[in-house]
């Protein structure tokens, strides 16, 4: 695969990310990267010490609430009370030790999990520091995180379907926006949230087909066709909203999917209220996440999808209908994005507002890259983005002396760092963005 990739890719792009992950020889780039990561881990540890330990007074505690602040089926659990200074010291020293070991020996395959662990330390250190002397409802934060991560994760999963088959989908934002408007309008007209949901999925699927027609049939540059769809979606939804939904609010009141606690599972403390006491759209997202992962890596369809995204000509010589697969996958991707758009209306505030997606489709794209084009990676990245989004709202309440705008920048900065290959490497499907020509 490695050799084929190098041939398929332009020389300009090869520099810096052309070397396949399967390279077993010690190449200087991998060494440099693992060294950078070690230094980064130590820096995180030092940052915990400098910014959090040095500014905390001795003897304080932070109480993390582990029960949701509402009526719930879950069993009650006592609050988690952490002494501030000892916990912070522990997390700082642990991060530094992990970093030193990375520099000295290297964690090898465990590199990713160690990075995740240190990131967890950093966030916990931050929360402990921010909530010192007070109590912080951890479950509340995590609950909101999952809710905010859901549309982002669906956008990212849509990206997985499209980009793994070689089509860049910049239009996720537009698809979500269209689906949101459709679900509100059709849901209100038919007085059925289910019909609203189905209509929005179909509409977003149609936009996916349009993207596929433009990029596969007419071989339009995929970023341009995506941009055109985004502008079209902005225009059409705002037009329909201004013409029908604003003058007549009855057309913008579709109702909302109720929370549907899953028996037994929702009784689990901590996890229950977060994952098993929410609405059906979140369950659908979690189901799709697992489904797409299994489909992509364990079925014939998945193997073919990955093949046409990496080397369509090789796939075609083995008898795969590249064009047809790209059509279906992009249309399916559109529908997944549409589910994300429908969630914004039917799963949270049951009304449509102009431009209500506010860049969530693009954040999903970032999550896709951050998650290295894998379903679970993308979901993890979405959770991080959802978490920073939740935090910046909480920070204002906690009166933390960090402007919330900087928290909001964080996901984008992280994405750029990941994309630049400083920490790990984001490897796009090789044939992404290139129109397929039959030979």
């Amino acid at each position: 695969m490695s050799a084929m990739r190098q041939i398929a890719r332009g020389e300009a792009q090869q520099k810096g990310r052309g070397i396949s992950a399967s390279t077993t020889l010690i190449d200087p780039q991998a060494r440099r990267r693992s060294r950078t990561m070690g230094i980064l881990l130590i820096l995180i540890g030092l940052a915990i010490y400098l910014f959090f330990v040095r500014t905390s007074e001795a003897g304080l505690t932070t109480a993390f609430g582990l029960n949701p602040g509402r009526q719930t089926a879950a069993m009650e659990v006592p609050d988690l009370v952490l002494p501030v200074l000892p916990s912070l010291y522990f997390m700082a020293i642990a991060s530094i030790c992990i970093g030193v070991f990375q520099l000295a020996r290297g964690w090898g395959r465990a590199e990713g999990s160690m990075l995740g662990l240190v990131a967890l330390f950093l966030t916990m250190a931050f929360l402990t520091w921010a909530g010192k002397g007070k109590s912080l409802n951890l479950i509340g934060i995590l609950e909101t995180t999952l809710q905010r991560a859901t549309p982002i994760a669906l956008a990212a999963l849509s990206g997985v379907l499209c980009e793994r088959s070689g089509i860049v989908n910049i239009a996720i934002e537009g698809m979500m926006l269209t689906a949101a408007a459709t679900s509100a309008l059709v849901g209100s007209l038919t007085h059925s949230i289910w019909i609203g949901l189905i209509a929005s999925l179909l509409m977003a699927g149609l936009l996916g087909l349009l993207l596929a027609v433009l990029s596969v049939r007419f071989k339009v540059n995929q970023v341009i066709s995506g941009t055109a769809i985004n502008i079209l979606a902005t225009g059409v939804t705002s037009y329909v909203s201004a013409r029908y939904m604003q003058p007549n609010q009855a057309l913008n009141n579709p109702g909302k999917f109720p929370n549907l606690p899953i028996p037994l599972l929702s009784r689990i403390p901590v996890l229950g209220p977060i994952f098993f006491e929410t609405n059906i759209l979140v369950y659908l997202m979690l189901f799709l996440l697992v489904l797409i992962h299994v489909m992509l890596y364990y079925t014939r369809w998945g193997l073919r999808t990955r093949a046409i995204g990496e080397h369509p000509h090789a796939a075609a010589t083995l008898g795969i209908d590249v064009i047809r697969m790209r059509y279906t996958n992009v249309a399916l991707g559109g529908m997944v994005a549409g589910l994300g758009g429908a969630f914004l209306v039917l799963g949270s505030v049951p009304r449509f507002d102009e431009l209500m997606t506010a860049g969530k489709g693009f954040i999903g794209l970032a999550a896709l890259i951050f998650g290295k084009w894998n379903p679970f990676g993308a979901f993890g990245a979405s959770l991080i983005f959802g978490f920073t989004d939740t935090l910046q709202a909480k920070l204002q309440i906690l009166e933390v002396p960090i402007p919330s705008q900087f928290m909001r920048m964080l996901p984008y900065l992280i994405t750029m760092v990941v994309l630049a290959g400083v920490v790990g490497r984001a490897q796009a499907p090789a044939a992404e963005g290139q129109p397929y020509e039959k030979q």
Partner: protein
């Protein structure tokens, strides 16, 4: 990727044969022109089918329905025309009075036209920004963020330096816009050239970083006294001169934008630097083989591209607003891509496209108040134009155009 956009239309080479030249010109503008016409027709159709009065009229009789449809269309496009150019009758009357020595009607009659040119000014600059990037093979989708950063840099120079004469202060403020936007654009360029990270994603990310940064600055360090998140007013020395008395907002920025278009043309097609940029854009392999500095070219292209977007913000602040508000950009990110495509990444084409968009945008607000058609119809129209320009086969198919033999030969050679 962007080589697809530009290689079909290199600048028309100096051709002594006159008829061949006009033929080439027609070949170049045929598709954009038909794309605009088709998009206008289709959005007219959309206006008609979303109008309840039309359905009521069709309920009475077919003829009444057709009459109502035509009436709706005339009102809509009439309002668009009057809003963007003006009422021809009152313009002629004002001109006649002016010749007779009475200039009082002039500003009212020519107000719509001047507003269109005011709207077109930033469009010219952001369109040039994206077009320059396309030519150099860089897809700058982040004109919006560069516009915001350029605005922040220029407004800061505009209000913080005091007591400077216009001759120094104004150029300094505009330059700050160029440098601010340029550096913001150069970062993704550098990342692309050195790490291969794609500039499409990075410019999108940097848009959001720019929005948050501006949100913080305008609510904190750069906020003026009071409640509103806006910057202090710029010093009188940093104001671009207005050319007419008050209700008319037309300012010297329009000519600045035209000068930039000329400059970009000169840079791209008459200098060695421009040649290198275009070579990198058309074929990076060949460029490397020819010894062109690819990293330098990519960074320079993105710096200039971002600089043009930053200059757009600087002229908007210096010529119109005099301060910077929080929600500053008005969808320039996507509009600029449409402009570059419609103008076929050629400075002259971009200026024409920007004038068209300026007229449409300025006219749309009157269309909304008179014909009650939401302004968003303009976005729909723009999207259709992009689709038709990017996929000319659709236009060729609709109008049964014969495929251009030269174009076929050129595409076959690709």
């Amino acid at each position: 990727m962007p080589e697809l956009l530009t290689s079909r239309d290199t600048a028309p080479p100096a051709d002594p044969d006159d008829s061949s030249r006009s033929h080439r010109l027609w070949a170049a503008i045929k598709v954009p022109l038909l794309a605009i016409i088709t998009a206008l027709l289709l959005s007219g159709l959309l206006v008609v089918v979303t109008d309840t009065r039309v359905y009521e009229a069709f309920g009475q009789s077919f003829a009444a329905g057709v009459r109502e449809s035509v009436r709706v269309l005339l009102v809509t496009y009439g309002a668009l025309f009057e809003g963007s150019i003006g009422n021809p009758a009152s313009m002629i009357r004002a001109l006649a009075a002016w010749i007779g020595g009475d200039g009082s009607q002039m500003s009212l009659a020519f107000y719509p036209l001047s507003e269109s040119l005011v709207t077109a000014t930033p469009y010219i600059l952001v369109g040039l920004a994206v077009a320059l990037g396309f030519r150099a093979g860089m897809f700058n989708i982040g004109a919006e963020g560069q516009y915001v950063i350029g605005g922040l840099a220029s407004v800061f120079v505009g209000y913080s330096l005091k007591g400077l004469p216009t001759l120094i202060h104004l150029p300094l403020m505009l330059l700050a816009g160029v440098v601010g936007g340029g550096l913001w654009g150069a970062i993704p360029g550098l990342l692309r050239a050195t790490t291969g990270a794609h500039e499409v994603i990075n410019t999108i990310m940097m848009n959001y970083i720019a929005f948050s940064l501006s949100d913080w600055l305008l609510n904190g360090p750069m906020k003026r006294e009071g409640f509103r998140p806006i910057t202090p007013e710029i010093q009188p020395g940093a104001v671009l001169p207005s050319l007419f008395p008050p209700p008319i907002r037309f300012h010297a920025g329009f000519f600045l934008a035209l000068a930039c278009a000329a400059l970009v043309y000169w840079l791209l097609f008459r200098t060695t630097t421009g040649f290198s940029l275009r070579t990198v854009g058309a074929n990076p392999h060949a460029a490397r083989y020819a010894g062109i500095n690819i990293v330098g070219s990519m960074v320079l292209a993105m710096f200039l591209s971002g600089g043009l977007a930053g200059l757009a913000a600087a002229t908007d602040i210096s010529g119109l607003l005099r301060y910077m508000p929080n929600a500053f950009s008005a969808g320039y990110g996507f509009d600029s891509i449409a402009l570059a495509l419609l103008g076929r990444s050629h400075p002259v084409g971009v200026v024409l496209a920007a004038l068209l968009f300026g007229f449409l945008r300025a006219g749309a607000s009157r269309m909304q108040s008179v014909a009650r058609v939401p302004v968003d119809i303009i976005s729909i129209l723009q999207a259709m134009v992009i689709v038709f320009i990017a996929a000319p086969e659709i236009i060729r198919y609709i109008y049964r155009l014969r495929t251009d033999h030269e174009a076929v030969a050129r595409e076959a050679a690709l």
